[in-house]
Symmetry: C2
Subunit: 436 residues, 2 copies
Amino acid sequence: MPASSSAPASSPALPGLSHRQSEFSFSVGTRLTETCSPSDAQVDANGGAFLGRTGTITTPHGTIQTPAFIAVGTKATVKAVLPESIAELGAQAVLANAYHLYLQPGPEILDAAGGLGAFMNWSGPTFTDSGGFQVMSLGSGFKKVIDMKNVDSSGPDDAVAPGKERLAHIDDDGVWFKSHLNGDRHRFSPEISMQVQHQIGADIMFAFDELTTLQNSRAYQEESLERTRLWALRCLTEHASLTASRVGKPYQALFGVIQGAQYEDLRRKACQDLGAMPFDGYGIGGALEKENLGTIVRWCNEELPEDKPRHLLGISEPDDIFTAIENGADTFDCVSPTRVARNSAFYTPFGRFNLSGARYKTDFGPLQDGCDCYTCVNYSRAYIHHLFKAKEMISATLISIHNERFVVKMVDDARLAIESGDFFEFKAETLGRYYS
Amino acid sequence: MPASSSAPASSPALPGLSHRQSEFSFSVGTRLTETCSPSDAQVDANGGAFLGRTGTITTPHGTIQTPAFIAVGTKATVKAVLPESIAELGAQAVLANAYHLYLQPGPEILDAAGGLGAFMNWSGPTFTDSGGFQVMSLGSGFKKVIDMKNVDSSGPDDAVAPGKERLAHIDDDGVWFKSHLNGDRHRFSPEISMQVQHQIGADIMFAFDELTTLQNSRAYQEESLERTRLWALRCLTEHASLTASRVGKPYQALFGVIQGAQYEDLRRKACQDLGAMPFDGYGIGGALEKENLGTIVRWCNEELPEDKPRHLLGISEPDDIFTAIENGADTFDCVSPTRVARNSAFYTPFGRFNLSGARYKTDFGPLQDGCDCYTCVNYSRAYIHHLFKAKEMISATLISIHNERFVVKMVDDARLAIESGDFFEFKAETLGRYYS
């Protein structure tokens, strides 16, 4: 085991930050290949490497054992679920969104409340996404994500949702955008994003980056990547200044965000560029299609400093989770578990099902046999089916608790499988059953 | 203290029921006038008597210390609140509705689940309203209650909501009505209501009665009251038969429902008639205006057997609660605490306020200073204001928890005040502050 693997790796200090950096650290625990022996065919299929590992992220509000699935609480609440339930189901951290909280209630409110965690009664670690993704996806008329197959383009570099007006305009300094709530015009820049995120006060923040799509031209991707690189530097500078000035606040870690779409050279360059900067960790973001997910994560993690945590933004599908884990991603987040719950879809080891089906009306079993979540221990499919049909709110609560537990536990079990040496068996069994 | 006051008064046995009646009982604890000394003026103002008392209702699923406010869970869920929270906030029992559960999911589902409590994961005592009120109010095009001041009447005995079709048609045998969900035609009768309520399986059921309005003619009120009397007898007969045939189920108590609108002679007659029948307790229902509430409750409780519990249907306003308690009502229920919560209204000792006001945006105090509820201990007005503005579901959850706690505690405190002898001081202080 390399000497660095279990010692906490403190981030390179920025001026004025050294005494606080100790509040954030990451240590690698077990590397996948130390305990597991993939076959040659598996190694070949994965591009020659498995970068997966376990680790521990230490924040001022507690630790996160990685790999870990982070519950999404966009507007400072995991939709329909009380924070006690989130903790009880085993979620280790919550991720909120700087764009949404900037518009509503405003970051000064969270600052006055003592930060995101205190505001929402969540005592554990917190993340905020920078808002860059949301500014650009919502600002281009897309709801939450840019559908790569359904865009109106006036040119190759101008993806807008069908029938929608472009509400986000990007220049080298930042982005003008209109609020999706009331159409008010706002400005985000690297500095503003950092100011907003410092006020929100999460333990882990993301640098402000530009979102591109797979439709953008190669030339635009290059131009955009350079803009994101320059923005990353500006984020670090503003972050250092804010950290120095906001005396007495817990240290907030800053993760750089890797873009580069489907281009290997761009992804590797972005990782080299940002990897050399004093970020506390990295987010892997941007345009990627499901079939390239593992490859792109591998390109990134082959370049990124190994002693920094890596967050892959926006995934929760079981196959994506395993692919990301084995390629070295440490944390993940996704709105899906609660979003599909509100439409009565629930996860099981045998796939995802929809509880609105008439056959569940008299099904007195739990959502998932043997599941240890509050919902499965106490409620039947028949009851939650009734709640959904009757439009009663706690149907969303109960299914969300189960779905979050399902994904959190799957990732926890993957971590244990890395430690115990049966990751590949666990993956094959889990995915074989889920997609059967 | 009269000899009967603290001994459990078992209900007069129906054929075949005697061995089970022991599962339901009521005992009077302290009479208001045993510990408190109202002034002559207070006695005069209250018609010469204060019938208030404390007591204990024993059911197969636990006891209820009375006076008690019963949380409403119409469709087998207290809207937006998990049952753990309901128990934690001190609610002693939950009341569901036979009309709603008959239509959705159907009473056979609750029966198969092991009854209402098991179905909804509530281990304490449960009530079901008979559905009579809902059949007739919803069937007349009103939403939840018949607005006494806003009716279209083709004649004095035909109150229908403006612009709505009459969907309920009453005859001596029962009621034809259309489902408010899909327009399907259904029939309720005393026998059907008892069958439905036995399948639902609550500890306390209500007899099927006819709802009248204050607009109905005196002649119609008399006719209706006689119909309700005959229905009460049919409910008892069907209840006895079902109790005998449903071997092994916990005993379900049956409460007769007192109608008679604003007429003293009709109310007293109804109480004498139903009071002589072997009901386990009584519900006081029907048309009454706020200013007559105490008087009507007093008329009823002067006639009803003193050793039976009395439930006043559908109140939660502080002044109504005190009026009802001092006139001898033991339990109350109301949808208001959760309904107003969904519109962001919250109770405080100084009245009800609406959290949507802009001044709450930066108000980091609890909904109510000193309140011991989960919401007040953990969340600020600013946070819940944000959740409401952001249309996040847990705003309803958090305000509902507080509002239910507020009313439950007020009634609990009134019970303690009867025991400690300062009921009238407590009432004056509470109402003086609330309506200041």
